[in-house]
């Protein structure tokens, strides 16, 4: 089935990307036009007015360097904004208005694709716990100088996590074939329910290898990490979390942020491109 699917790689497919963007941007803008910012009780449209802004920003150019710097800067400012909220993160985050959640491109005729962007994230100094109950200093774990694949999940999640975890699980073999030095990290965003025991069962369910670390921890520490990866979701309700996957080639490389659900072949392909960019 995978070959039938058109994956729109906005970062690499420059010409097509720009052409489509020209169509997509007005569509997004139009859509956000009726964005109603309050009264979420009436089932109204909540698209973010900033949607166009953001998507065109990250989708912009295929040359990483130039467009990227500007983006990283913008992102820093964004992260700063979140820091200010950190102490009171239960404050209703202008429901539906945060640009991160609005960044998904509005419907495209061909439907399904994931979006890629390169990002720099600061690893926060928190200590989490792995599936064996051992304390893990997060920046130390992330100081590992090899490829890392990371996502956010929770074990009772019904819809997207099982798919994301099955994708991680199945792709392990392909990743090993490409370069087996990788580290896989799944961080629970339901840390109090996802005890080490539950994470161990979950790891077993998805035939996790030893280099797949599942992390839980104190609620606030977990959400510090969520914020660090700009993976916040609406109303701090985990049920609204988004399918995000993060890849990185080594400890100094930027993170490749993948928004949307991926197939196994797609994930392996992204991993391969990341490690062996000359192949493409």
């Amino acid at each position: 089935m995978a070959e039938f699917k058109t994956v729109l790689r906005l970062v690499s497919a420059s010409a097509l990307g720009c052409a489509l963007l020209a169509f997509a941007a007005p569509a997004v803008a139009d859509h956000s036009g009726h964005g109603n910012t309050d009264t979420h009780t009436e089932g109204h449209d909540h698209s973010a007015p900033k949607a166009m802004d953001h998507s065109s920003h990250s989708a912009g150019h295929d040359a990483h360097a130039q467009g990227h710097d500007a983006h990283a800067q913008g992102h820093d400012a964004h992260a700063q904004g979140h820091e200010d909220h950190a102490a009171e993160h239960r404050m209703p985050e202008h429901l539906g208005m945060d640009e991160a959640n609005g960044s998904e491109l509005a419907m495209r005729p061909d439907g399904f694709q994931y979006k890629t962007s390169a990002q720099h994230y600061e690893m926060p100094d928190v200590t989490l716990r792995n599936q064996l109950g051992k304390k893990i200093n997060f920046p130390e774990l992330m100081a590992y100088d090899g490829p890392v694949l990371l996502n956010f999940i929770f074990t009772s999640c019904a819809t997207i996590c099982p798919v994301m975890s099955a994708t991680f699980g199945q792709t392990q073999e392909d990743l090993v074939a490409i370069d087996d030095s990788y580290l896989m990290v799944s961080i629970s965003i339901d840390p109090e329910y996802d005890t080490p025991t539950r994470l161990r069962e979950y790891a077993e369910l998805h035939a996790a290898r030893d280099n797949w670390v599942m992390l839980t921890g104190q609620f606030d520490d977990i959400f510090t990490v969520v914020r660090a990866f700009d993976a916040v979701y609406k109303g701090d309700n985990k049920m609204y979390h988004r399918p995000l996957t993060f890849l990185r080639a080594n400890k100094d490389a930027p993170w490749l942020r993948l928004e949307g659900l991926l197939g196994s072949e797609e994930l392996a392909e992204e991993y391969k491109k990341l490690l062996h960019p000359e192949v493409n």
């Binding site: 819809t159 997207i160 798919v163 339901d190 309700n237």
Partner: protein, 562 residues
Amino acid sequence: MHFPAFRATVRRLGLALAFAAVPLWAGAGQAGDAELGRKLYWEGIGADGQPITGVTQGDVKVSGAQFSCVNCHRPSGFGTSEGGNYVPPIIGSVLFEKKTPNRNRMFKDLYQEVQPPGFWARVRAPRMRPAYDDELLARALKDGVDAGGHVFDPIMPRYDLSPQDVANLSAFIKTLSVEIDPGVTDREIHLATIIDPGADPEAADAMIRTLELFFEWMNKDTEGDTRNPTFSPNYRSNFISAYRYWNLHVWRLEGAPETLRAQLEAKYAEQPVFATVSGLVEGPWDEIGAFCDDKRLPCVFPNTELPTPGEGRYGYSIFFNRGLSLEAEALALYLGDQETAPTRVVQLHGAGPQGTRPAEAFTNTMAMALPDTPVETRLYEGADDLRSALAAAKPDTTLVIWPQDVDEAVAVLAANPPAASRFYLPSAAKEPALAAFSPALVEQARLVWPYDEPGSYHPNKYRIRGWMHTRRLEVTHPRIQLQTYYALTMIQFGLMHAINDFYRDYVLEIIEHEAENELNPGTHPELALGPGQRFASKGAFIAQLVPEERVGYRVVSEWIVP
């Protein structure tokens, strides 16, 4: 647009359609077994007793053991929304009818929650399709093509199912959410609250006051909104069919524990209710919980310290936390985390479930957390027995007390200060201990505290207090009254979202989904559920008494989650 899409589909599926589908369709006429269909839907087990397999996201193989229909389509069959994915309802009455533009049906898909634009686009451009039959259902499940020829989202797995599996599933789907659940008439929705014989009468009154006031204002709103339905900002007139007057039934139980079940059955027979909300139950929830499960009756956030043991996944009772067992486990972990382990732990417990259940949980968790520390457990019956047990405590003893009667235990402690340097009590001892303990005892005492710490910020806490004060509600039992208010908002949100689909499973699913929103009344650090989860708060602090401060306590540990 439909026709080219269909052609593309045929081209894509190619030979698979031509060959593989034929034998599948040929068998689709056979009779289905709804019970086997349920097993497939819930457990991913096919008619041959093996886990079914499928492919999602194009090439990710999944087995029924990893996830099955119920994950996304939920127990009610109404579907869900997660991470911007829209999972449409698959109940028989939707699936086996053609889908046409229907404004009122569409409103039900417009989840009353924030979603990314792609989700809204998907919902607002509903795909019309003819009705499914078993052949089309087989094709949909196997090849991912709907009855109108549209290709499904890649997240919907393409399953390798036998004709018998499809027939079974079809039979089961037709049983999902067929008729609205009992307790709802055209005008009213009946809700009950359960009070057991041991409940403190004043606390029960405080709870009932809160319930009645909330019902009164709900009904005032309903009256105002329905009186002039043609005046319709925000599509209000479209929702007229969803309004119901809330009718509260207070189910006061009496007598011996073994008679409770029969009393509940009798009250339910007299007036079926759609759900129970809040409640005040001193004894174990077990029998009441069994009643809720048997009747498939949502029993939403009762005030109880003895919820049914176990995880209760997908059960019909939803609790704030695991009560005294949680307190006991958190305490054992706390002792295990100390730099120097206690040399000797003596556990005294009362004879009833308030004493025995936490004692058992404490013993088990201590065996894991501090296997080398001896725990001496002693049952006491009555004040005299407790007094002599306390007298035996030595200065190096760490005392843990799980009273059956908290007031009695506090009084005995106050009159007979134990020699132990430290003693621990359950959270329920806070108020009597503040009133009775000398400064020396306050210094010796610690509480397990499965609630929030002082001074934490919850926006809804202020809204709720404002609501209570402006309506002159007498707040004598703040915790119980705030928890009751939370239970009420859960039912309110659940019903608001369900619109006029008065199905209990559906409402429960909405509560699971919404519990984590900004509705926490400030009683617990976090209140959150997830699919199948039944305990909204999962941990506890250890606290010390601080009589000179208004709140009377201060937490001295991290939030401990067993």
